[in-house]
Structure formats: C-alpha cells, structure tokens
C-alpha cells in the first residue's frame, strides 16, 4: 500500500485507528490490492493510488469544513435571538465555480481511466499461454491449450492455476452453472465467469510464487470456500510440471493386494468414478462421460463435472481450495508443486487428517447440496427443472478401511 493510499484508507478511521494501530501489523495480507506483483495489477495500482490520494485531499478539506464551519458560526449563549444573520440567498459565480472545478478534476481522472481501460483490454501477447478458467459450484477448473490448436485439451486440473512466471497468460473465463468471478488480486482485477459466455482476461506474475484469491461473485452455499491459488513457476519448472500433467495414472492388476490397489478398486467400484475422472483409469468411459469429461447423468452433478484427480498430489489444496493438501510447513512449501514426488515429501507433507475427514463426510466439511432435493421444492408446475441434481460431493458412507485404502491410492496420483 502506497503511503498516500494508506492515508486515504485510514483517514476515515482516524478515530478508531488510534485505538488499534497495533492490531494486524504482524499478519500477512495475501489478498491486498496494493501489493501488485504483475503488470496488470501494477497498471491498476498506478491509476488508483493517485485517485485515492486526490479523494483523500478532498476528504480532508470537506471533513475539516464540516467541523470548522459549524464551530465558527455557532450561536453564542448571549446572542440576541432576534438578531438575525444576513440572509444570503446564493452566489452564482461561486456556485458555478464549484460546479466546474469538480467537473474538471473528474475530466482529468476520466481521461486517465479511459486510457487505462484500453491499455488493460489489449490483446494477449505473442507466445502467451492459453488457459481456460471454468467456475462451477464450488471449485475452479483449469484447462490448458499447450499446442495452440484452439482446444483446451492437454491438461485438466483444479484449484491451483499453475503458470510460468514472466509470461503473459491468456485466460478464457467461463462457468458451468451460475456466475462466479475469478480474482487473484496481486496479478489483476476480477472478471466474472458467466455460463454461456467466454470472457478474455490476462494475468502475468513478475516472479515465481503463490498468489491467493477467491471467487468474488456470490454463487450460493460455499461461495466463501471457493478459493483460488495461482502458482507461478520458472519456465523450466513449468515445462516439467506440464509434461508430468499429461501422463496417465497407472492401473492395478486383479492380483495386487496392496492398500493402493484396494483403494483403486474402491475408487472404481464406489460412486467416486461416476463423477471424478482419472486419466488412464475411467477417462474413456463413454457410458458415463462425454469425450471432454462431462458427466452424462445430470442428476449426479448439476454442473456436469467433478475435479479431475489424475494428478491430485501435484496440487497444494483440495475441496475447491478450502483445505490444504500440502501442509503449510516451510519444508513442504519449499517443495512447491513437487511436494509429493518422493515418499519422504508425501509422508511429511500430505495433510492426511483433512483428506480423511473429507472422505468420511464431505458435506460436513464444506457446505454443499449433494442430495437431490425432494421436499419443499418449487417446480411441481415446472416440468423443465425436474429432477434437481446434486451440487457438490455426497457422503459415500465409506468405512475406515476403505478411507485408508482410498488415501493410499490417491497418494500415488502425483
């Protein structure tokens, strides 16, 4: 936050601020809009800081006037009530002045704003990485077009948007159910994800790092839990990550009785595999999924999709970004997206307790509407909307053994 902006932000609160200067000084503000770490966010910040400063100046002048004018002209106790102040009805010249001056200030701000609007809406740079960003209740999916054929079909992932640093990322933002909004404040402002529309947007990170954000258009129950994390890697690391993401998961033979193989069978035989896709396991099941992974049975999931789990262990969060998959220790964070590549990383960094709790009863962990509603529902007169499908992950009533086996299987999806 720039010094001037700080004045603007804190000035209205001078009174309260005095009480509370110490408060959050030590806290991080991962979503602040005054610490830009990418060109778009910086362009915005360069515009908004002077505007905030100008507003701050006006604020000080008017508030001072609101305080001083009444004090200066207050009636004294010994005033004669019948002595009446001069009856001034107005002053046209003065009033025209204070109509024109603000209009001129606004014109200056207006020009700067319009210039910035068109700066920011410029087409993506040559060589930009194309990613489709898709919002649904209540998680984000990211699909990559690496070969430039216009189809976002090379990589499908969720929650963490992994990008190369110092490269323009050309986003196409859309949604599959209701309106959401994509926002990583340190990289750019927000852009709504609207079903049926494709909105261009671009982000770029100055350097490798993790940038937080969240859905900012109210989208129902778990709107608060629909988080965003952009992970910027160096070009080399990104290339490695991208290659790894395109590999299929392994299958297990009938005779394999390892916990992971048992978990694999839980996955394929329980309801899991009707919604979640794992490349190399059930991705090609044309009875259940369309070629791009849409669940054919609408009642299973209104949006038609569940997060692709093929490379679950390369993500740092799960359940729409609500929970950490990779523990928040310095050791684990230093491993980046590769935290689960070796057994030691998995053993030390997998947030096993959270994952198990999730599998035990997902709707208890995150507000969702996983059951088809049957009572007290609109629609007896509305044939178009029946049946009302599930939104979010249901409780599958797994046994503790099954949960252990599933985790063992999921752990291998690096």
């Amino acid at each position: 936050m720039g010094a001037v902006a700080r004045v603007r932000t804190f000035a209205p609160l001078a009174m309260v601020g005095l009480l509370a200067g110490c408060g959050d000084a030590l806290d991080r503000h991962p979503q602040t809009m005054f610490e830009s770490e990418g060109p778009a966010a910086r362009t915005i910040q360069n515009l908004s800081v002077p505007v905030f400063a100008a507003a701050g100046v006006v604020f000080v002048i008017i508030l001072a006037a609101c305080l001083l004018v009444p004090l200066k002209f207050r009636a004294k106790d010994d005033d004669d009530f019948d002595e009446i102040p001069k009856q001034v009805h107005g002053n046209t010249r003065l009033e025209i002045t204070w109509t024109i001056v603000p209009a001129l200030i606004m014109a200056v701000v207006g020009v700067a704003t319009v210039v910035t609007i068109f700066d920011l809406s410029a087409d993506a740079e040559e060589g930009a990485l194309k990613v489709e960003v898709i919002g649904q209740q209540w998680w984000w999916e990211y699909r990559y077009d690496l070969d430039g054929d216009g189809k976002f079909d090379e990589i499908t992932t969720a929650n963490d948007l992994v990008i190369p640093a110092e490269r323009d990322i050309d986003l196409t933002i859309t949604a599959r159910d209701v309106i959401h909004s994509f926002w990583a404040p340190k990289l750019n402002g927000k852009r709504d994800a609207v079903p049926g529309r494709e909105h261009p947007w671009s982000i770029e990170a100055d350097q490798p790092g993790e940038y937080l954000g969240q859905c900012t258009e109210y989208c129902g129950l778990a709107h608060a839990d629909m988080r965003i994390k952009v992970i910027a890697l160096s070009e080399e690391d990104f290339a490695i990550w991208a290659e790894g993401q395109q590999e299929a998961a392994r299958r297990y033979g009938e005779s394999d009785t390892s916990p992971a193989a048992e978990g694999y069978r839980v996955f394929t035989q329980q309801l899991c595999s009707s919604c979640h896709v794992i490349n190399g396991v059930n991705a090609g099941n044309r009875e259940r999924f369309t070629p791009n992974g849409r669940i054919k049975d609408r009642s299973l999931q209104v949006s038609g999709y569940a997060p692709d789990l093929t490379h679950l262990m390369s993500r740092t969060t799960f359940a729409g970004g609500k929970f950490l998959l990779r523990k928040a220790t310095p050791f684990c964070e230093a491993l980046g997206v590769d935290w689960a590549d070796d057994p030691e990383g998995r053993a030390r960094c997998l947030n096993r307790a959270a994952l198990e709790a999730w599998l035990r009863n997902p709707p208890a962990q995150k507000p969702m509407a996983p059951d088809q509603e049957t009572e007290g529902i609109v629609g007896q007169l509305n044939p178009m909307t029946e049946p009302i499908g599930a939104r979010g992950m249901p409780n599958l009533e797994l046994s503790e053994d099954q949960i252990d086996q599933l985790v063992a299987d999921l752990e291998t999806l690096e």
């Binding site: 009174m15 002053n91 109509t99 209740q137 309106i179 529309r197």
Partner: protein, 671 residues
C-alpha cells in the same frame, strides 16, 4: 375524479353528492366514520396517518433488519465463525439487504414524503387519498409476505440483487426466491401508486402562488424521487415477473441451457438498482436541506442550484447502471462510457455538499439534535461519495468490486447518508406529527453514540475490502489479516444497536413526559421557514384552516421577518400572530374507507397461491376484483358524515389542540 378547484378552495375534493354510485358498494361494508381507535387507522385515508403508519412499519422492519445485521456481525467477528451455517448466513444477509432497502429506507422516505408534501405545499391531502391508503397496505402486505418466508421453511438466499441463473430452481430449489419475488412485486405496487399520487399532488395541489420554484427543497427532492420510482420500479417488477414465470412455469427467460444470457438479469436489475440508490438518498438530501437553513437561520444557499442539481442527479442516475457490472464482462467501450458518466454524477452531488456548507457559512448555528444529524449526513455522505468516485475508476473497481470496500461505501451512503438524514428528520418533525418534542439532550447523546458506532462498524470495512475480503462470504480463514478489523466492526455494530435502543427509549420517555406536563406544543418550535410550521402541532386533520397564499420561497419565514430600511432582517410579526389556530369551519375531507385494505389483502392471497396452490390464486383474484369494484363504486366522500372535521388530532393523542385556549409557547428556541 376532477382536480379542478371548486369554490370551496383549491383543496376541496369532489364529493359524491349522494347521486350516482351506491353508498355501500357491493353491500358489504357500511361506511367507516370513526376518527379514533384502531379502526380509524385501518380505514384512514389521511396522508398524515398513512405517513405515520409507513414510519412505524419501517421502524419495526428496521429492528428486524438490524437483528439480521447483528447476526452477520457476530458470525464474522472471528475467523471460522460458527453461529450460522452457510445456508442460514446466506438467508440472513439476503434478508438484511432486502429489508433495509425495500422495507426500511424506502418506506421511511415514504413516511416523510406522505406526511410532509401536502403540508409543505399548502394542501389538505394528497391527490388520491384512497390510493395512498392502498399503497401503504400493499407495502405492508409485501413486507409481511417476504418475512413470512422465515416461518415457512426457507428465506430467500440469492442476495438482494438475486442474480440469474443462481435464482433459478436448479440452484435455489426452495421457495425463498418466490417469496422475494411476490413480496417485492407488492412493495413495488406501493411505490408505483405512491409515485403517481405524489407527482400529481406536487404538480396540481400547490397553494395559490406557490410556483414550482417556490416549492421547499424537501418537496422538490421528493418529486424527483417519485419520478425515479415511476420509471425504475416497472423495470424491477418486469424482471421479477419474468423470474416468476421461469421458476413456476419453466419459462426459460434466464435458463442458460435454453440459450439465455444471464447478463439480461444484471442489466434489468441495475437499470432499476442504480436509480434506486438516488430514490433512497434524495429524500434525505431534502431533509437536510430543510434542517440546515432553519438551524443556521439563513435561507438555503443557492436554491436553484440545489433544485437543478437534484434534477440532474435524477436524469444522470439513469446513465450509470453498468458501473455495477465493471467485472461482468461487458466490453471496454461500455466500461469506459459508464466510468465517465459515473464520475460526472459526482458533480451535482458535490454541489449539494458545498451549498450546505455555504448555507451554514455566516449563519448563527444552533446545535439542536436535528442539526447534528444533518451535519452528520453532510460529512458521512461525503466519505461515501468519495469512495464512490474511486469505484467510477473502473480498472480500480475491478479490484474493489464485491469486496468489503463496497460494503463500506454503500453503508456510508445509505446509513451515513439516508438514515442519519431520516433520524434528523424524525427529531425535526416529531413535534409537528405528535405534538411533543423528542428530548434534545437524549437526542444529542443518541447522535454521538450512533456516529461512533457507525464509523466503528463501517470504517474498518474500507480496510478489510482493500485487504481483499470479499462480500457475501459466510466465513473467512485465519491468516488473511481480516481478524482484527472484523472484530472492531462487530463491536461497532452493537454500539449502533445501543443507539437504536436509545432512540426508541427517547420516544417513550419524551411521550410520557409530554403527557404528564400536558403542555401545548408550539406550532413553530424551531423558528421554521416552510408551511408545515404554520399549522398547529400536532397537525389538525384538515391541515390548514385556510389555504395560505404564497408570494415567495420560505413564505412562512417572511411572514415573521422583514427588512429594516438598511436591508437588515428584522422581526415584523410575532410567531403566534402568523400561525393558524387549527380552527376549521366547513372543511370537507375525503372519507375513510375499508376498500384499500381489502384490495391490498387480496394480493398476498394470490402470491401464496402462486407458490402453494393455484386455486388460492382464484380466491385471491376474486377478492381483488371485488375490492376494485368496491373501491370504484364508492363515492370519494361520504356525504352523510358530519362535515366538521376540524380540531381532531391524530387518534390516541388526547392532548388538547390549538383550537382551545392554552396560550402557545413562543418559539422554543427563544428560551
């Protein structure tokens, strides 16, 4: 109904004369005649009683909306709050916003406008008194129906803006959104009929000599507000009808899979929604434009500028709606156009602030409670206005929108602006409406407590928003730096709650004290400037004994004060000699009627029918049609009723009126 003045004066309303239509239409009711007791309230067509009922209902809803606000603040006081589930939280924040906008700020405006417009323009009632009564009852029916959703399973949870397609059955399978639809269609009817009524009143029923440019600024702002309502409400109502057909009959107006574009709803909603902002704030601007001159003892600085800036806001308010949609994906040209138009709407608003300050400049200011609230509005609204300018800078807005920075902004506008203004208005006009003043000392404490609580609640939200806390989230996590200011904000909310309790306590205490003292309230306790101070307090049922003839702006003040030979203002007449005594002879007022209430009662039956069982719609529909016939066939006035309505104060107030001898106090400010 003819509005042509008759020999009884320009304000007499046409009578039924006993010829023509039946006296007891449909043979159901005998004509109500009582002027006291509860029946006089439910059958009243008196603009003052209707105004008071609007105010009372709005205050009840204010308490409900306030409790919802406290629930929100407790939930967010600490990270991972556990008080409310996400589902309940979404209902609570939706109902808080909807209640405060449609059932609190708008009807408080209606209360003041209903009560004051006829008084300020020298009229005996509004143009269509029974329509006015219908407006109130249908507002109440809408508000009650909306809130009945709490008791019938599930309150609306789509936000007050209720975006498509989240408002569709697939994503909001409960009836909450249907209650939202039906309830607000009804309150919309109230606004629409009220708009037509008050526009006609302002244009046709002004006292002789009161040209438009001599109208008090409150009435002017009310007139602009009513024009905004007239054009804005139908947009919302249309959108709600489309949504109703979508939800109940599968009409597919907003169904994306059937090819609909969800931006249609956004546009419709905000084409209503932005004028709505001015609908809420302009009446409050009018209130302070009355209060500041009286307590500065100077005329309003730049009356024509104040009027025309209000009109300019009214016009420009239609060209800025898409600034609510800067992140929605509309193209850069639209964004640029709406950015610039939004910036320029700040200009007339700024003019108002500076003119208020100039009105105080050179005056002799008395800091009675209404004046404190008025200065509170000027300063707090300025903060909201300035943060508004930062939203007009659309690139910056793509960072701020849908964060708590916006929540801070509009609470500074609607609480720091509209609500502080309205509270000031209550303190200012309370003696006129009820015949006793609210205690000034308690009022001042009330003001400071509310000012501190307000800034403590909403000030920190600026910081939270800029630190990246989104709106409409039922919880937030530790580690985002949101903890401290959220906690401060919650403490502030309880301070506001304390201030609200103090306001109600002030009413009780002051009323009790006034009854014990049995003093007659002066007609003009503040040394006022406009016509409402010319009639006794409380206002007699017939308003004016005789209609004043107006020669200039602030006519009443100029009856008290003139100029000496050096051009200095001097008193030329004692207040007691220029105010009226409340002594009416042969005043003919419109008669009370049951039909407005009956008509309004039919509509929620249709509403519940649409939700639960279509047969009920038939019952409700017959009810409505019968009531329309009854209302139409009933003569406007009951010629068998006694004609002398003079001297009756509002029912339940047994204080003597000015007609009787008790000598009036000189203006209270003198002592």
């Amino acid at each position: 109904m003819s509005l042509t003045p008759t020999e009884a004066g320009p304000l007499a309303l046409p009578t039924g004369n006993g010829r023509g239509p039946a006296r007891n239409p449909l043979g159901v009711f005998s004509r109500p005649r009582t002027t006291t007791g509860w029946r006089s309230w439910v059958t009243t067509v008196d603009h003052k009683k209707i105004g008071i009922m609007y105010g009372a209902a709005a205050l009840v809803f204010f308490v409900i909306g306030g409790i919802e606000a406290l629930l929100i603040r407790v939930q967010l006081a600490t990270p991972s709050g556990q008080l409310l589930s996400a589902d309940l939280y979404n209902q609570v924040f939706t109902m808080h916003g909807t209640t405060m906008v449609f059932l609190v700020v708008m009807p408080i405006g209606s209360a003041l406008m209903n009560y004051l417009i006829p008084l300020q323009i020298g009229a005996r009632d509004v143009a269509f008194p029974r329509l006015n009564a219908f407006g109130f009852w249908v507002f109440l029916a809408g508000g009650l129906m909306l809130n009945s959703s709490w008791l019938l399973g599930h309150a609306p949870d789509g936000g007050w803006f209720n975006y498509a397609p989240n408002n569709g059955v697939a994503f909001s399978p409960h009836h909450g959104i249907d209650f939202w639809n039906m309830g607000l269609i009804m309150t919309g009817l109230a606004s629409l009929t009220g708009a037509i009524n008050l526009i006609v009143t302002c244009l046709n029923m002004r006292a002789p000599g009161m040209t438009l440019m001599k109208m008090p600024v409150f009435t002017w702002m009310a007139l602009v507000t009513q024009f905004l309502l007239l054009f804005a409400i139908p947009v919302l109502t249309s959108a709600q009808f489309l949504l109703m057909f979508d939800r109940l009959f599968g009409a597919n107006f907003f169904n994306v899979e059937a090819g609909a574009d969800p931006l249609l709803w956004e546009h419709l909603f905000w084409i209503f929604g932005h004028p709505e902002v001015y609908i809420m704030i302009l009446p409050a601007f009018g209130v302070v434009s009355e209060i500041i001159p009286v307590f500065s003892r100077k005329p309003l600085f730049g009356y024509p500028f104040m009027v025309f800036s209000g009109i300019a806001i009214g016009f420009m308010g239609w060209g800025v709606w898409a600034h609510h949609m800067f992140a929605s994906g509309i193209g850069p040209i639209s964004v640029a156009a709406f950015s610039v138009s939004t910036m320029f709407i700040a200009v007339p608003t700024g003019v108002k602030v500076l003119n208020w300050l100039a009105t105080m400049w050179g005056g002799k200011l008395r800091f009675s409670t209404p004046m404190l609230f008025a200065i509170g509005l000027v300063s707090m609204f300025t903060i909201g206005g300035l943060s508004g300018v930062t939203h007009a800078v659309s690139p910056s807005d793509t960072q701020q929108t849908d964060t708590y920075y916006i929540v801070a902004h509009f609470h500074y506008v609607l609480f720091g602006g509209a609500l502080l203004g309205f509270l000031g208005g209550f303190y200012f006009w309370w003696p006129k409406a009820f015949g006793y003043a609210l205690d000034d000392k308690l009022g001042k404490v009330n003001f400071w407590v509310i000012l501190i609580g307000f800034n403590m609640t909403f000030g920190p939200m600026h910081i939270l928003g800029l630190q990246g806390m989104p709106r409409r989230i039922y919880t937030y996590s530790d580690g985002y730096g949101f903890n401290f200011w959220n906690f401060v904000s919650t403490i502030g909310a309880f301070i506001i709650a304390l201030a609200v309790v103090m306001f109600f306590a002030n009413i009780v205490v002051s009323r009790r004290r006034a009854r014990a003292a049995a003093k007659v309230m002066a007609a003009d306790p503040w040394d006022g400037r406009s016509l409402e101070w010319m009639v006794p307090s409380p206002t007699p049922e017939h308003n004016f004994d005789e209609v004043p003839v107006i020669t200039q702006f602030d006519d009443f003040w100029h009856r008290k004060y003139g100029e000496d030979d050096k051009g200095r203002p001097v008193r030329i007449a004692a207040t007691a000699d220029v105010v009226q005594t409340g002594d009416a002879t042969d005043v003919h007022l419109p008669s009370p009627s049951y039909w407005p209430l009956v008509l309004a009662a039919g509509l929620p039956i249709v509403g519940y029918g649409l939700i639960y069982n279509l047969w009920l719609c038939l019952v409700g529909g017959l009810f409505v049609i019968a009531a329309i016939y009854g209302l139409t066939l009933e003569p406007a006035s009951d010629d068998e009723a006694p004609h002398d309505h003079g001297g009756h104060g509002p029912a339940g107030d047994d204080t003597t009126t000015g007609a009787e001898a008790a000598p009036e106090q000189e203006a209270a400010l003198v002592d």
